[in-house]
Every structure is written in structure tokens, then in C-alpha cells.
Subunit: 137 residues, 2 copies
């Protein structure tokens, strides 16, 4: 298990964080991470409506802005929000943005394929896999 390079908490800049979260796709990724806690790239980017390389680009943007933390475990990379770091640097910021995003959900493009889908967020299938992955890297 190894961590990818991230900016130090003190180096996180407000405008970079805001710019990172101002993109609907990236905001959706952050919302998913806030719900699931930790996701690998495939699950986090599922049904986002963008190519996987585009999603990878967004992960990089979010990581370099200091919003999320990425650790590699075997062939998978798990991402999680830097909640504590962001809270200490910009108190209340992430929470208010997440709360706002949850009251104003952005429809992922792929959701249009099934207009009658009851719920828009379907992250549970990854839960078991995550738990397993953490047990024995």
C-alpha cells in the first residue's frame, strides 16, 4: 500500500478547491465519496457519462487541489475525501458544499438510460469489495 503525492494541508488553496468542486462531474465524484467513504476509480466513475480517461483526469484535479486522498493497493486505487484536512483548513466549507450538493442533485448522464430508476446513487455493491480489500492488501 502506498500513497500518491498530495499537497500538504497548509498548502491547500481556497480557489483551487472551489475550482475543483465547480465541475458537475467532479462534484458528483465528491458526493459519492462522501456517501461511500472510500471508492476505487472504477466504482467512483461508474455511470458518470464520461470516458474513463476523463474521470482519471478529474481524480488528478481533485487530488492536486487537496480534496481527496488516493492510496494504491495492489492493482486498485482507493480514493477518499480529506475531510479532516479540509475542515481544519477551511472550517465548514466542505460540509456546506456537500449539504448543498445533496439538496440539489446533479443527474449523471448515464441515468438517462433508465428514466424510471428509483434511486440515483447505487454504491452499495462496492461496500463488500472495499471491506475485503482492506482486510488483506
Amino acid at each position: 500500500m502506498r500513497l500518491l503525492p498530495h499537497p500538504a494541508t497548509a498548502d491547500i488553496e481556497l480557489t483551487e478547491v472551489l475550482r475543483a468542486l465547480a465541475d458537475p462531474v467532479r462534484l458528483e465524484i465528491v458526493v459519492r465519496l462522501s456517501v461511500a467513504g472510500e471508492l476505487n476509480c472504477t466504482v467512483a466513475g461508474d455511470d458518470l457519462g464520461v470516458h474513463k480517461s476523463t474521470a482519471s483526469h478529474h481524480y488528478r484535479t481533485l487530488r492536486e487541489a487537496g480534496v481527496l486522498l488516493t492510496k494504491q493497493m495492489g492493482r486498485l486505487k482507493y480514493m477518499s475525501l480529506r475531510r479532516d484536512d479540509l475542515e481544519s483548513r477551511f472550517p465548514g466549507l466542505l460540509d456546506s458544499i456537500l449539504a448543498a450538493a445533496l439538496t440539489q442533485p446533479s443527474a449523471p448522464a448515464a441515468t438517462q438510460d433508465q428514466p424510471d430508476a428509483p434511486a440515483r446513487l447505487d454504491l452499495d455493491p462496492a461496500g463488500a469489495a472495499r471491506a475485503d480489500a482492506h482486510a488483506q492488501p
Copy 2:
């Protein structure tokens, strides 16, 4: 006195607000408005380091995102933050961003002309003018 067109509170979108505030110049404008309450374009754009037409473009962006409100009084236009509207739409969002921006001040470009300047925000001179302007339009 007449108001310029603004989006309704319910139409304010989170990503638009974040995108509007993700620019250092626009964030500085918002910070100034949060301190002064109300400013005309000339004062709000003073020492920002950008051309006045660029500043005007930023005012438009902020207004169309629903961040600020503009009313014309005679030959001047006064801008103010839509604090209540934003608070009701995205509770805590603006306050946390303003608090973060105040702890991490962005240096306006023109400040470099006077490196020994004691304070970076000099908005009081407009205070009297504002009060006068409101008395008798």
C-alpha cells in the same frame, strides 16, 4: 432606482456559484462586498489589477451566478451580496467561503506597487458616498 435582472433564488445553481467564486479576482470582489456591504463598480474594482472592462465582466458573472445584486441609482451602480438568498438556498456556504477567504487573503496585483502598505483593504472612503447616495436618489 432600478434593479438589473437577476436569477431567482430557486434558480441559483451550486456549481455556478462555486465557479463564480473560484476566480481570485471575483473572490476578492465578494470579500470587499462582504466587508463594505455595498459598493459601486469603481470602488469595488479599485486596485484589482485588471482593466475596468474585465472587472465589469466579473460583475456580470457574479450577478448571473446569483451571488450579487446590482441596482442602478442615477449614473452609478451599486452591488451587494445576496446573503439571505444564498443562505436560504445553500445554508452556511457563503459564510464558510468568506471565512476561508479572510484567513487566506489573496493579494491584489496593485498592492505590489506599495509593498509597505499597512492594510490591504481600504474601503472606508466609499462609506460616506454610499450613505449620501442612498439618502436622495
